[in-house]
């Protein structure tokens, strides 16, 4: 039986192409399950999963919890917007306290890049990174690629532009790694202040003109501007931002071809995309959300099957 090459999902950069295909094939199966009248399988009845969210999250947390419950895992939740360090307890101590209650797997969101990698070196449970600072958000990238595959048949050879705040975005980084692994071409587009200076060395194209970027691509993944991660203003106003980097219906209609619009959410309507774009037939934003549950079921199922060995 095929299995993942890793014991944790810490980032896309730690996966290989076979891992991604295996996750997609497993997700295909679970997508069928969650569309049944009884949306649940008993696969993980003997597994306990802790969702540790050291940073605010609504949709990712719900998506993981739903995925876990549909696999019949026991689930406990821990949320703290404050980092454990500020409370005087180290991350390792916090997690080890929870693990001593016989938890098998940890799903963790954390504000610091590398928190999952760090934890994996010091604790015994299997770890799923649900977003670590501006590092990676692997399940988001997997569900994004899965949604492109579903819409366009294949990811290989497709041109994908990621638009917006690349500098503070774990979604951008994971998407770049995932798309490149599957043979897609990647471009980033945004104000220069929000594009890492050396990102071209990852083999991505860099464009600051949105119209040119959209004319080039098959898929545009629109990112939210992460004001909460900014220590200073990287652009003068959201009005001016949306003038340059907001996708409107008029702009979409002016293109030579029909491109697919994605967004990891939450959307700032009227900033990065207008409502009519978000709700248009070119948008697959809600498909992404549904696929998120199937992808997370697949990841958890595959990692759990390695624990059981």
């Amino acid at each position: 039986m095929s299995e993942l090459s890793v014991n944790h999902l810490l980032g896309i950069k730690y996966l290989n192409e076979q891992d991604i295909q295996l996750i997609f094939e497993t997700a295909d199966h679970f997508k069928e399950v969650i569309n049944r009248p009884i949306k649940k399988v008993p696969s993980l009845r003997d597994i306990t999963i802790a969702n540790l969210f050291f940073e605010n999250s609504t949709r990712t947390k719900l998506s993981f919890e739903l995925a876990e419950k549909r696999l019949s895992a026991d689930v406990i939740n821990f949320s703290s917007a404050q980092s454990s360090v500020k409370k005087g307890e180290t991350l390792i101590d916090t997690v080890n306290n929870i693990l001593s209650m016989k938890v098998d797997m940890v799903v963790m969101r954390h504000p610091n890049p590398g928190a999952g990698v760090f934890l994996s070196k010091h604790i015994k449970a299997s770890i799923v990174n649900a977003g670590d600072g501006a590092h990676e958000h692997p399940t988001q990238a997997l569900l994004d690629s899965y949604s492109i595959r579903e819409k366009l048949g294949d990811v290989s050879g497709k041109k994908v532009v990621i638009v917006g705040d690349i500098l503070h975005s774990r979604v951008a980084l994971s998407n770049i790694f995932a798309l490149q692994l599957q043979g897609a071409e990647v471009m980033v587009c945004g104000p220069k202040t929000l594009i890492p200076k050396y990102i071209h060395e990852l083999g991505v194209k860099v464009e600051t003109n949105l119209t040119k970027a959209l004319n080039w691509c098959d898929v545009a993944n629109m990112l939210r501007v992460q004001n909460e991660r900014m220590d200073i203003s990287y652009f003068p106003s959201t009005r001016e931002y949306s003038q340059q980097f907001g996708v409107t219906k008029d702009l979409l209609d002016s293109l030579d071809k029909e491109i697919t619009i994605m967004h990891p959410g939450p959307i700032n309507r009227g900033v990065e995309i207008t409502s009519d774009v978000a709700d248009s037939k070119q948008s697959i934003i809600l498909d992404q959300v549904q696929n998120g549950v199937a992808i997370r079921m697949a990841v958890i199922y595959l990692l759990a099957s390695k624990i059981k060995q």
Partner: protein
């Protein structure tokens, strides 16, 4: 102390015995005879060690020992023992203690803690009160008590007028002012070098620009004020170029580089290992190569271990939260010898002395014995077992190093590494 050192190869370009193997007789701390095949007249203690080499005692221009205030990280006593075991006969200790060493009495306390030790402890006083980079500390008073330089360890002086005044004021008594090369507004929250690795890891980058802007500014100020400026731990080729130009203009500027910035690059950080979190950050291979070249051509005046013991509680945490710094005394010689010849390594380890007021003592009859003892040809993997420091945050852990240190003879004492 009377000893006879047998069969030691002397590495000292200022000695007539350079590159020869001799026996050395030391009586009451003074070299009294250097000859091949000396007999042991009065049953003195004899030192016979495998492939023994000796040189003038080594000096490190930047160490931190944590005392007072951070004794859990390191104490002066154990710090000096570490220095001795690592071949150093003099170390300049930074003022990053608690309280900060910023007064005459603090300097006296520090010196008293180190008296009667084989290693000379040279205290660096803080440049500003509490190292808060706001008001000048009593530099003259500290100078009189024995402070060899003035430095707010790794705290940039953001206010250019403050550095201007410090340089002007300290020039009255030939004081050495140190300025950490970092423009804080540009470095921002950066925790590693801004380049491809920081991009891949999603860690905030601290660009080379932050250092270079500050170096350029400081040199402009120095040109205006006169005085003596030392720029500790530079890490980029442009900083080197700026300092090279300043030296051509005869500005009285010196600089150092940390050994790890020569030997390691930001590529080591891929696993978020906090042992590699240092300031200035590890930069690229090209940067390290340019720095080595600048050490070779003399633009960089001295190489330091920038020894900074940090307890495990401040290192075994998320990368963003981890403290900057590494211990380095123990690995200094082995790391340097991995990059340079033995002769060059010894030159590097003795070169910065005069800038910090340490008189060079070459290996000659009649001179005080101030010696480092080592075997340059042993290759080994540096592990926790090689660490003498209380804290174990070693950037060179698991690195392959070349050359082992036996210890020192200095201040009429002998300290040998078991």
């Amino acid at each position: 102390m009377n000893i006879l050192i047998k069969s030691a190869t002397i590495i000292d370009p200022n000695s007539d015995y350079n590159n020869t193997t001799q026996d050395i007789l030391i009586e009451n701390g003074v070299i009294t005879k250097i000859e091949s095949n000396l007999s042991n007249p009065n049953n003195y203690e004899e030192i016979t060690l495998e492939n023994l080499h000796i040189s003038e005692g080594w000096f490190d221009s930047s160490v931190c020992f944590g005392e007072p205030g951070f004794e859990d990280r390191e104490t002066i006593e154990n710090g000096l023992k570490t220095a001795a075991y690592s071949g150093f006969t003099a170390v300049a200790m930074n003022a990053n203690t608690n309280p900060v060493i910023d007064s005459n009495s603090d300097i006296i306390f520090t010196k008293s803690k180190a008296s009667n030790h084989a290693v000379n402890l040279l205290p660096i006083g803080a440049l500003t009160v509490g190292s808060k980079t706001v008001d000048l500390a009593e530099l003259y008073d500290m100078h009189n008590a024995g402070a060899v330089a003035f430095y707010d360890y790794q705290k940039p002086i953001s206010n250019p007028n403050l550095l201007k005044i410090a340089l002007q004021y300290a020039s009255n008594f030939d004081g050495l002012v140190c300025s950490f090369p970092q423009e804080n507004k540009i470095s921002g929250n950066g925790v590693m070098h801004e380049h491809i690795t920081s991009t891949r890891l999603g860690l905030k980058g601290n660009p080379a620009l932050a250092e270079e802007l500050q170096v350029a500014r400081d040199l402009f100020l120095l040109e205006y004020t006169g005085g003596k400026l030392h720029i500790p731990t530079i890490s980029t080729p442009k900083s080197v170029a700026l300092i090279r130009e300043a030296k051509k203009k005869k500005l009285d500027v010196s600089c150092s580089v940390a050994i790890h910035n020569l030997a390691l690059t930001d590529a080591t950080l891929t696993e978020f290992n906090t042992h590699f979190k240092v300031l200035p950050p590890l930069r690229t291979k090209e940067d390290a190569e340019a720095l080595i070249e600048a050490v070779n051509d003399g633009t960089i005046d001295m190489v330091t271990s920038d020894h900074n013991p940090i307890d495990v509680e401040h290192k075994k945490v998320e990368f963003d939260h981890a403290a900057y710094g590494t211990i380095g005394l123990e690995s200094s010689f082995g790391a340097l010898q991995s990059l340079f010849s033995t002769e060059k390594a010894v030159e590097i380890l003795t070169k910065g002395k005069s800038r910090f007021g340490v008189a060079p003592v070459s290996i000659k009859v009649g001179n005080k014995a101030n010696l480092s003892l080592f075997n340059p040809s042993t290759s080994y993997t540096f592990t926790k077992n090689n660490i003498v420091s209380k804290s174990k945050n070693a950037i060179f852990e698991d690195a392959n190093l070349k050359g082992k240190v036996y210890g020192i003879v200095a201040n009429n004492k002998i300290v040998l590494n078991s």
